[in-house]
Amino acid sequence: MKGPGLLPQVAWVIRKNLAIERRSGETFWMVTPFAALALMLAPLAISTDTALLRRIGPGMLWLVLVLFGLGVALRPSAGESRSVRDLAALCGLDPAARFLGNSLGAAILLIAVTLILTPVMIVLYAPGGNPAWGWLILLAGTGAVSLGLLGSLIGAVVTGLRTRTSLAPLLALPLAVPVLVATTRGTESALSRRSSISWVLLLVAMDLALAVVGVLLAGTLDNTPPTD
């Protein structure tokens, strides 16, 4: 009997991850307020100089999003137990579908987090401006997809390891540097109402590259069971 195709499987994994989030509320009731608090506390540690804050605002926003967002993106794949993976394999779930589902599920959550935190950053760091919201929304989407894909890939590499909570950020953060640079520069441009097209295109290229690498390697990683 032929099972469902790749896209329905991806949609199933996304629904599963969003249902888990709906029940736990971890991203919206814990991670997002914590990230907003970090954005609020940073000026107290650095400086309350308005000109300086306006300059560092985009960088602070995306640094916070990368640090907190990678945690959100790593959770579904890094935290999967052996029994969950075995059950998924028995159900005939394609590893590539699981990778894409986990990535896109995390990306949806991260887009929402970004869209909440961006106005917070503008209020706290760059008030009084008239940003290009269209570019900010595009940057939120492409940046969130990058973080989702990267987090899922690294999550699959560290899944089941005893040291995964310490190891995953160490592996993911250096790889997230291009995302951090592109989103920060893009946001700077959008805040001063300039086009962010080059940065959005760079993020789209990274998204595609990460998706291809992840899909190609998902089966290989899936054949190495978690060590738990």
């Binding site: 560290v158 390891l161 160490l170 592996l171 953060l173 250096p174 990683l221 060590t227």
Partner: protein
């Protein structure tokens, strides 16, 4: 039971060649005049450049080994990849350190954020530190080899970024001098390029020696692990005298 691995005979030749070439390189460098503007600091070039060239080579061999394991499941490819990356990390650290020392002498600062190559090399260093940490975290050899091969392949993307960062970004670091698209327009004086070439060859020979020794160590580790596993497997007792696990 397999025999204890013995050191490859060529190791001694590699060792002797490394010492001789490093000696010749040192002699050649001692005869190089001080650079016009940088003075004695320019001599750091003879450690900095060979270490980065050899680090690229090591990380390149690392990714080839990783791909060899991913595509063909060659166990030896994983060992070569791990050995090369370990040495590559040490050489990357040496590159960073000599670069920072040069910066302190010439720019009066240890670190400059406008130097794209310095920053990207530091990112590369931390990425491969993560690789080594991942390797230490997994006991099962198959799982370790697969996951490290995936990470080793993805991480190598950073190497061309480091190299071409001086062309892609506005940076304080000088442009590519040795490996550049327009290689015919090299900008270095011959009294520098000759000794530099010698030290690069010496570093590559030293790398060949180190990877040979590291592979020997890896094979010995495998031998000990297998011997310990065989010794602890009670095949005869299990077949001839089955016993209950529960205490009587």
């Amino acid at each position: 039971m397999e025999a204890i691995p013995v050191l490859w005979r060529g190791t001694w030749i590699l060792g002797a060649a490394s010492i001789i070439l490093l000696g010749i390189g040192l002699y050649a460098v001692s005869g190089v005049p001080d650079e016009e503007t940088q003075g004695i600091a320019a001599r750091l070039l003879f450690v900095h450049v060979p270490s980065v060239v050899t680090a690229y080579l090591a990380l390149g061999i690392g990714v080839l080994g990783a791909l060899g394991y991913l595509v063909r499941r060659w166990g030896w490819a994983d060992l070569v990849s791990a050995a090369a990356i370990e040495i590559g990390v040490v050489l990357t650290a040496l590159t960073l350190w000599t670069g920072m020392m040069w910066g302190r002498l010439v720019w009066s600062v240890w670190w400059d954020w406008t130097d794209a190559r310095m920053v990207s090399t530091a990112v590369l260093f931390f990425l491969y530190i993560g690789y080594l940490a991942l390797r230490r975290s997994i006991d099962d050899s198959h799982i370790r080899a697969t996951r490290c091969a995936v990470l080793g392949t993805v991480a190598f993307v950073q190497v061309p970024i480091v190299h071409y960062s001086v062309l892609w970004f506005r940076t304080l670091h000088q442009g590519a001098t040795l490996i550049r698209p327009d290689v015919a327009n090299a900008t270095m004086d011959t009294e520098y390029s000759g000794p530099l070439g010698l030290t690069i060859v010496a570093f590559i020979t030293l790398f060949a020696l180190l990877i040979t020794l590291r592979l020997h160590l890896a094979r010995t580790e495998l031998f000990i692990t297998r011997a310990a596993r065989e010794a602890s497997t009670p095949v005869g007792a299990a077949v001839t005298a089955p016993r209950s696990r529960s205490p009587v």
